[in-house]
Each structure stands twice: as structure tokens, then as C-alpha cells.
């Protein structure tokens, strides 16, 4: 690593940090806000408005508490690497824990673990270090300038005398927080940029890692949810409690904005002394649901018809309009036009929705696998009427989040059930409830029309996306563009002399939410398939074609140059194998993929190899980046090949994994990840590998069969998954 990371961080000021002694009046605690949009001023009341801490005990223990969550992306380790670097401590001696929720705990989304927080974290570590150096120098009665920090000690260089951080922790906590401490020079990095092993992995090979579903409390009962199978339906009347159940609790719905819908009861929970018993009793209940007439419209056939009509005649919002697109089409030598369709998708985290809550008249404690602990706090306030200082939220490990565990429905239910029964309960959703009551990746219809000149230059590019709006379902203004819907369709990196993008909201009421890479998961397929069609029309190698179109974008061009270099194998493939490529920029990161595929049958593809080239600016932990590239690709591949959730008269038609195929070992291609450190601001890693794999495979499929696949999933007849 020769180049340091530039940063998008805003300048830090006094309000970003506070220092004080740890609980009990001894030791050191530096609290800091994780995001520039929030401030760390400690309130005079009981609400601590910070979301991360560096804690040093008088016993020299070092703990980093962070206000996010670990869902497998490696953030916990990445944060510790960054802080340990400037704090000048041994990473092996650092414990990392998730902090109890505060009102500004951050939402783990948008591939944001490292994005925009790099300098902030480094400054926090360096500030704490300088406070220890100052306190240590005072304790040794020597000048600060003669002291350095190393391995958790303050060392007086002329004499080699030293004191440990712990021994001066209490004094350090009383010092002012320096706002512009010197950061460790890149050449001296011990941890940043290194493939440091993940802190959480040992506990994940022996069953010790505690996921939300594993929480156990004294006197805890087990609750299982049963929700109206038709979306929008409500409980007609509360069914009688079976004799062997502890309780039957009707649960009030949450709307898509996270608020309780007063009087709308859409679920019933059965509470018993173990999960299985509660589940069997739940299935035995005779439940009557009241279904509103509007539910029937949540039907794939009807929604698709509506989308087709909106594509033809709907009034668009126009988030991008540069140059004279229509005029340029008149002068184009070739025009290519295609319409792509996308199904609803489920998140299908392997750990289903669950939450443990213990509510008393004066307190509420929640243990949740959540991507949004701050929202859990708000949900707890809303359900219980308690104040923030009466509520504690513990964030557990997540058995996958993928955007689903931002939502508050399962959290609200657990708190309601504990409140109603007056005892600690663990709420669990059977897989069937999880699939049929997701907040789904939106369906979409995307049309792209592009004109090129004789050399293949894009002279006009027109796109039109028809899709339900995640943000509007959550109360966004009806007149504005939903950036989540058009992500991946605007400000494309390809040179285009005119461009226009339109978005037409589809009012379909199926609840939609944030699915790994969100809008990019849709729009990138359309864009990258179209670029491939243009390359074919211009009779150019699709990698070379992208290199040409990136001529004025050095970062994208360099990435594609690297893709060309590492995929020379593509020129010597046997006749039965073809290759395809795609590119995507998302969350500040650029990814190119080159895949090698064959077609065992007319309706199935075998992906043999995936070459992933990634530029996330600066890889804080190459080990985690590589893992996220592999994982994000696998997620996108399963979705493109097989993923779909059809709806019939308001009810999701997929209920379990047997009809929602994902990759297993035998499906796994050989993956190579090449990391390019361009030194641009640090981008995300969790999502950017998901969008490009689908179009890369579709483009290979065209070379195998001559057929363009414009409707996802690519192979719907292969979407069953067996256990063998």
C-alpha cells in the first residue's frame, strides 16, 4: 500500500467526542459519534448521545464498543484494525463489542461500515493515544515531547521508562480531547490494509457465537408468530387459548414507516414453554382473517399488467436529462432497444426473524439481531410508552441481514408479546412466515434505448424504470425521485453525449424494502446487458468496448484494463464455453466481472469461473473484501438464475427454500478476486459484487445460445432446491 486514503469525512469538532472516566470513576472512556450527521455531546440527562466508545480499564483491558452490528461483513474487525493502528495497541489485546443502543446507533446498510468513517475512526484512536501520552508524561514528570506511545504503553524515550495506558487511564480521561492528533503515517501501518483474521470467526466454528435466535433468559417463554397469509388482512377475532399454551397474543401491525398501525391486528402469537410446542399450537389455532378487497390487487399478473401500462403511458419523474436525446437518436447509425423485467425477491436470511424481549411496567430490555438498533429503541418507546432511559437494546450477531433486519415488524411483535404476558419471551418466525411476510426487493420493468455512431460511441441513451418505491411506501414526498429506485441508472460512467432517465412509480402495495445493493440489483442488469448489445452491434469485444467508453474516466478505465489483463484465458476457451462481462459502480466501489459459462441444457447454465476485479478505493482488510466479493456475487447469482417471489391474490407463493433456490457447493464457480487500490475515498464492500454477476452471465449466455435473456429469473424452471 503506497497511497493513503483520501476521505469524505467532514471536519471533526469538539462536539464529536467526549471523554470521561468509565463506570465507577476509574479508567478511561472516549465516546465518539460514528457519523458526521450526528454529534457526540453527552447529554446532561441520561441519554448518552454517542454510538461508539474506546474504553481502557485500569487493568489495561482495551475494549472498543461500536454502535453497529456484525452480520458477517467483517466490520467489527475492520473497525478494530483502524482504531488499534493509531491508538498504538496490540490488536490481539483489543476486545470488540457492540454497544448498547443509543438514539444515534447507526443503521448497518449502504455498505457503510468503512465508507466515510475512516478518518473519524482514526482520529478517535489517535486522540485517545495522545491523551494517554500526555497523562503518562505527567505521571513520569517528563516532557510530553520526549514520550511516544507503543503497544499500550507510554514510553519516555531518553530513559526508556514507561507506564501502561491502564495505569494512567483515569488521569487521561480528565484531559481535553485533541481534535487534530497526528495520524500514523501509511508507511508505518501495522494493521490497516492488512488481511487481519476476523475477530468473530473462532466463535463461529464451535457454536459459541450468540445470534439473536440463541438468546436465553431465566423464566423465558417461547413465542411463535402466525400472520395473515394474505397481505393486508387482519385478525377477525382473537382465537381461544389452547389449554397447554401459556398465552395467545394478538399483535398490532407496523406500517412501512416503522409506526404501529393502531387497531390493525395482523398477527397472532402463541406462547409456550418451547418453540416446537408453540409452533404446533399455533398451527392448530382456528384463525379467521378479514381480508380487504384491496389485497387481491397484490398479484403478480395484475402488477405486471399495471407496469406494462405505466411503461407505455405513465407520467414520469425525470431525474436526469443531459443534451438532446431525441435529436441524437435521429443522427444515430444504430439504435438498440430492450425492455427488462425483474421479479420481487425475498431476503431469505438463514437466521429467520426473531427477537427476545423482557418488558415490565418500568423497563424494557431487547436482544435483537438488528441492523438498526436505533430504530429498535424507537420501536420500544412506541410500544411500551417508556422513556429512553428505561430501555436497553442489545445487538446480537446476525445470521445474515441483507437489508431485512433493518425492519421493525418482528421487534415490535416481540415487545408486544412480552408486555402482554409480563414475562421474558423469545419470538421466532417459522421459515414459512419469513418468506411470506418479507419486505421484498421491488419488482421492476426497465426499458433502455441507446443510439451509437459508426465507431460505437453512445450518442443517445434513454432509460425508463417502472417500479414500486421503497421510500414512498415509507412516506417520502410524492413529487420527488426515489433514489433507491434509480440507483445504477443515473450518472453512468460510460461516455454518452446525451442521456435521459425517467422513473415511473408503480403503486403496487406489496411491501418493499432494501435488498442487498437495492436499485443497483435491478438497473445494473439492464444497463450492462444493453452495453453488451451495443458492443455486439459495434462488433467490438465487450471488454474493449467498455475500455473505449471509459476513456475519460481513468478509474473505471484502469479497472477495465485490469479486467482485460486477468481474463486473457477468455481468448482460448473451448467451443462449448463462452465468456461474458459486466461492470458496476455502487456504494463508492467499482467492480468488473468476467465469467466463463457453459450450457449443459437449453434451460440451465453452468458458471465455471468468475473473475472479480474490485476497486473500493482502499482495502482496509483485503481478507474481508475478498470474502464480501465472493459472497455478494453468490447472492446476486442465485437471484439472477432462480430468484422470484410470485404473488397470487395478495399471498406470496414461495414458502420455503425448496422453492427458492440458492447456490450450494456444487453450483459454486471458481472465483478469483483482484483488488485494485486506486486511493479514491473508501468505498463499500458488502453490496457492490451483487449487481454485476447477473448481466455477466446473461452476456455469456448470449454467446452460448444467441439468445438475450431480458426477463429474470433467467431459469425459472430450475428454481427448486432439494436437500440432497
Amino acid at each position: 500500500m503506497t497511497q493513503d486514503t483520501k476521505t469524505q469525512d467532514q471536519g471533526l469538532d469538539r462536539r464529536d467526542f467526549f471523554a470521561r472516566t468509565a463506570a465507577g470513576g476509574a479508567g478511561f472512556l472516549l465516546g465518539f459519534a460514528f457519523d458526521a450527521s450526528t454529534r457526540a455531546m453527552e447529554a446532561s440527562g441520561t441519554e448518552a448521545i454517542v454510538n461508539s466508545y474506546i474504553k481502557v480499564g485500569i487493568d489495561d483491558s482495551i475494549t472498543i464498543l461500536f454502535g453497529g452490528c456484525e452480520l458477517g461483513q467483517g466490520t467489527m474487525t475492520g473497525l478494530a484494525q483502524i482504531i488499534a493502528e493509531d491508538l498504538m495497541v496490540d490488536l490481539n489485546n483489543v476486545k470488540v463489542e457492540t454497544a448498547l443502543a443509543s438514539s444515534i446507533s447507526y443503521t448497518t446498510a449502504g455498505s457503510g461500515g468503512m465508507r466515510n468513517r475512516y478518518t473519524r475512526l482514526r482520529t478517535a484512536g489517535a486522540a485517545a493515544r495522545d491523551m494517554f501520552v500526555a497523562a503518562g508524561a505527567a505521571a513520569m514528570a517528563v516532557p510530553v515531547a520526549e514520550c511516544i506511545a507503543n503497544n499500550g504503553k507510554v514510553i519516555h524515550q531518553p530513559t526508556s521508562n514507561s507506564v501502561t495506558y491502564g495505569s494512567v487511564a483515569t488521569q487521561a480521561a480528565a484531559l481535553p480531547v485533541p481534535l487534530t492528533p497526528a495520524l500514523v503515517p501509511v508507511a508505518n501501518f501495522r494493521y490497516i490494509g492488512k488481511p487481519v483474521p476476523r475477530i468473530d470467526i473462532p466463535s463461529k466454528v464451535n457454536g459459541k457465537a450468540q445470534f439473536g435466535i440463541d438468546v436465553r433468559l431465566p423464566n423465558m417463554a417461547y413465542a411463535v408468530i402466525r400472520q395473515c397469509p394474505t397481505l393486508g388482512g387482519t385478525l377477525t377475532s382473537t382465537p381461544a387459548k389452547p389449554a397447554s399454551a401459556i398465552a395467545v397474543v394478538p399483535c398490532t401491525a407496523q406500517d412501512n414507516r416503522g409506526a404501529q398501525v393502531a387497531g390493525t391486528i395482523n398477527a397472532v402469537a402463541v406462547v409456550a414453554d418451547n418453540t416446537w410446542k408453540a409452533w404446533q399450537l399455533s398451527k392448530s389455532l382456528s384463525v379467521k382473517w378479514t381480508i380487504p378487497a384491496t389485497s387481491a390487487a397484490m398479484d403478480t399478473a395484475a402488477i405486471n399488467t399495471q407496469a406494462t401500462s405505466l411503461m407505455a403511458t405513465g407520467t414520469p419523474i425525470v431525474p436526469e436529462n443531459v443534451g438532446d436525446v431525441n435529436g441524437a437518436f435521429l443522427g444515430a447509425s444504430k439504435i438498440v432497444e430492450a425492455t427488462y423485467s425483474f421479479p420481487y425477491l425475498a431476503h431469505a436470511t438463514l437466521e429467520p426473524m426473531n427477537c427476545t424481549a423482557s418488558v415490565t411496567p418500568t423497563s424494557c430490555e431487547v436482544w435483537a439481531p438488528t441492523q438498526a438498533a436505533n430504530s429498535v429503541l424507537a420501536t420500544a418507546r412506541a410500544v411500551t410508552g417508556l422513556a429512553t432511559n428505561q430501555i436497553i437494546v442489545h445487538t446480537t450477531y446476525l445470521g445474515g441481514g441483507l437489508g431485512r433486519k433493518i425492519e421493525q415488524d418482528y421487534i415490535s411483535q416481540a415487545i408486544q408479546i412480552s408486555k402482554a404476558t409480563g414475562r421474558p419471551i423469545k419470538l421466532w418466525w417459522p421459515r414459512e412466515e419469513d418468506f411470506t411476510h418479507d419486505v421484498y426487493r421491488p419488482t421492476a420493468l426497465v426499458r433502455v434505448k441507446a443510439g451509437i455512431d459508426l465507431a460505437g460511441n453512445i450518442v443517445s441513451w434513454y432509460s425508463r424504470n417502472v417500479s414500486p418505491s421503497i421510500l414512498r411506501q415509507r412516506g417520502a414526498a410524492l413529487t420527488t425521485n426515489d433514489s433507491q429506485a434509480t440507483d445504477g441508472l443515473l450518472a453512468l460512467k460510460y461516455a454518452m453525449s446525451s442521456r435521459k432517465a425517467e422513473w415511473v412509480p408503480n403503486p403496487a402495495a406489496v411491501p418493499v424494502g432494501f435488498w442487498r445493493s437495492v436499485g443497483h440489483s435491478i438497473n445494473t442488469y439492464a444497463v450492462e446487458c444493453m452495453i453488451d448489445e451495443l458492443a455486439f452491434a459495434a462488433n467490438l469485444d465487450p471488454i474493449l468496448y467498455r475500455q473505449l467508453l471509459f476513456a475519460s474516466n481513468p478509474r473505471a478505465k484502469a479497472l477495465m484494463d485490469k479486467a482485460d489483463e486477468v481474463s486473457q484465458w477468455r481468448k482460448t476457451l473451448p467451443a462449448t464455453r463462452k465468456w461474458g462481462t459486466a461492470f458496476c459502480e455502487s456504494f463508492g466501489t467499482m467492480v468488473a466481472m468476467v465469467v466463463e459459462c457453459s450450457a449443459p441444457t437449453a434451460t440451465s447454465v453452468k458458471v465455471h469461473r468468475v473473475e472479480i476485479i474490485v476497486d473500493c478505493g482502499f482495502a482496509v482488510n483485503p481478507n474481508s473484501i475478498e470474502a464480501q466479493m465472493q459472497g455478494g456475487m453468490v447472492h446476486g447469482l442465485a437471484a439472477a438464475l432462480w430468484g422470484q417471489i410470485p404473488f397470487k391474490l395478495g399471498a406470496a407463493q414461495v414458502k420455503n427454500f425448496n422453492n427458492y433456490r440458492m447456490l450450494k457447493l456444487g453450483d459454486m464457480p471458481r472465483v478469483t478476486v483482484t483488488i485494485v487500490n486506486s486511493g479514491t475515498p473508501t468505498g463499500g464492500a458488502g453490496e457492490p459484487a451483487t449487481p454485476p454477476i447477473g448481466p455477466a452471465v446473461a452476456n455469456a449466455w448470449f454467446r452460448l445460445t444467441g439468445t438475450r435473456i431480458r426477463s429474470l429469473p433467467m431459469f425459472p424452471t430450475q428454481s427448486a432446491m432439494g436437500g440432497g
Partner: protein, 146 residues
């Protein structure tokens, strides 16, 4: 029904309906939560445990079938929780992401290793990993000491 289950060498007296799947007895009654629920229909293999040396999907395996048999869960795979050859290799190759499926993966892997090389054993298993850690599973199998 009163019964005794032998799990990881310890006898546990329990009292549950005899048709309760072993998964829920392990997790809710005995408190061994390393074994995970994923699908409940024997498709994902997250709930894999060893019963008398054989792999069983505990989500469908009624507890009465396990009476008198030796049950091994992820908690009992090795004495210190890290020393089974597959556990060592999984840490060395940094396999888990979210980690939720890996108990089942390691149980299936360790059972398949009885009579197979680690690489062949891995090809026997059909666990679902939604995070997509399969490539590192292959790398780990390649360095697992048989």
C-alpha cells in the same frame, strides 16, 4: 414423556412430547444453541447433528429416536471447540461470514470425513450457505488434515 438423552457425553433428563424434533430439544430444553434452525424441511442442513456416527437433520428427527443413542453437536465436536481438523482449517482459511450455517457445515463435514478424504467429504455435503462461503470451504477442505 420423561427420557434421558446423551449429548456430547453428558446425560440430560428431559420431559417433552416424544415427537418433538431433536433440534428444539437441544436448543430450548437442553440449551445447546449451536445447532441452528434454517428451513425445517431438511433442505438447508443447518440443523445437522451426529447420532451414533450418522448425520441426522435434527429439524425432522423425533427425539424419541435418539433415546439410548450417542448424540454429538457442534459444541461437542472437539474438547476445546477449536481443535477438530476441520475447525482448525475453517479458522485458518477464514471461512465463516455471518457464521449461522457453519455449525451444520462443520458437523456434516466431520461426519463425511469418516471414510472420505476432506476434499471428497466436502463434496458429500449439501449445506446451504446464504453468505456464499463455498470457495473458502473448498480452500479449507484442501488444508484439513485427514
Amino acid at each position: 414423556m420423561q427420557m434421558t438423552l446423551n449429548v456430547n457425553g453428558t446425560n440430560y433428563p428431559i420431559n417433552v412430547d416424544e415427537t418433538t424434533p431433536l433440534l428444539w430439544v437441544l436448543r430450548d430444553v437442553i440449551g445447546l444453541t449451536g445447532t441452528k434452525y434454517g428451513c425445517g424441511i431438511e433442505v438447508c442442513w443447518a440443523c445437522s447433528v451426529m447420532v451414533n456416527g450418522q448425520i441426522e437433520k435434527s429439524c425432522k428427527y423425533e427425539v424419541k429416536e435418539a433415546i439410548g443413542k450417542k448424540i454429538t453437536t457442534i459444541e461437542g465436536l472437539s474438547a476445546d471447540g477449536l481443535s477438530h481438523p476441520a475447525q482448525k482449517a475453517w479458522v485458518e482459511c477464514q471461512v465463516p461470514q455471518c457464521g449461522y450455517c457453519q455449525s451444520g457445515v462443520l458437523m456434516a463435514m466431520s461426519i463425511a470425513m469418516q471414510g472420505h478424504t476432506p476434499t471428497d467429504a466436502l463434496n458429500e455435503i449439501k449445506n446451504l450457505c446464504v453468505c456464499g462461503t463455498y470457495q473458502r470451504m473448498r480452500e479449507a477442505a484442501a488444508v484439513t488434515k485427514a
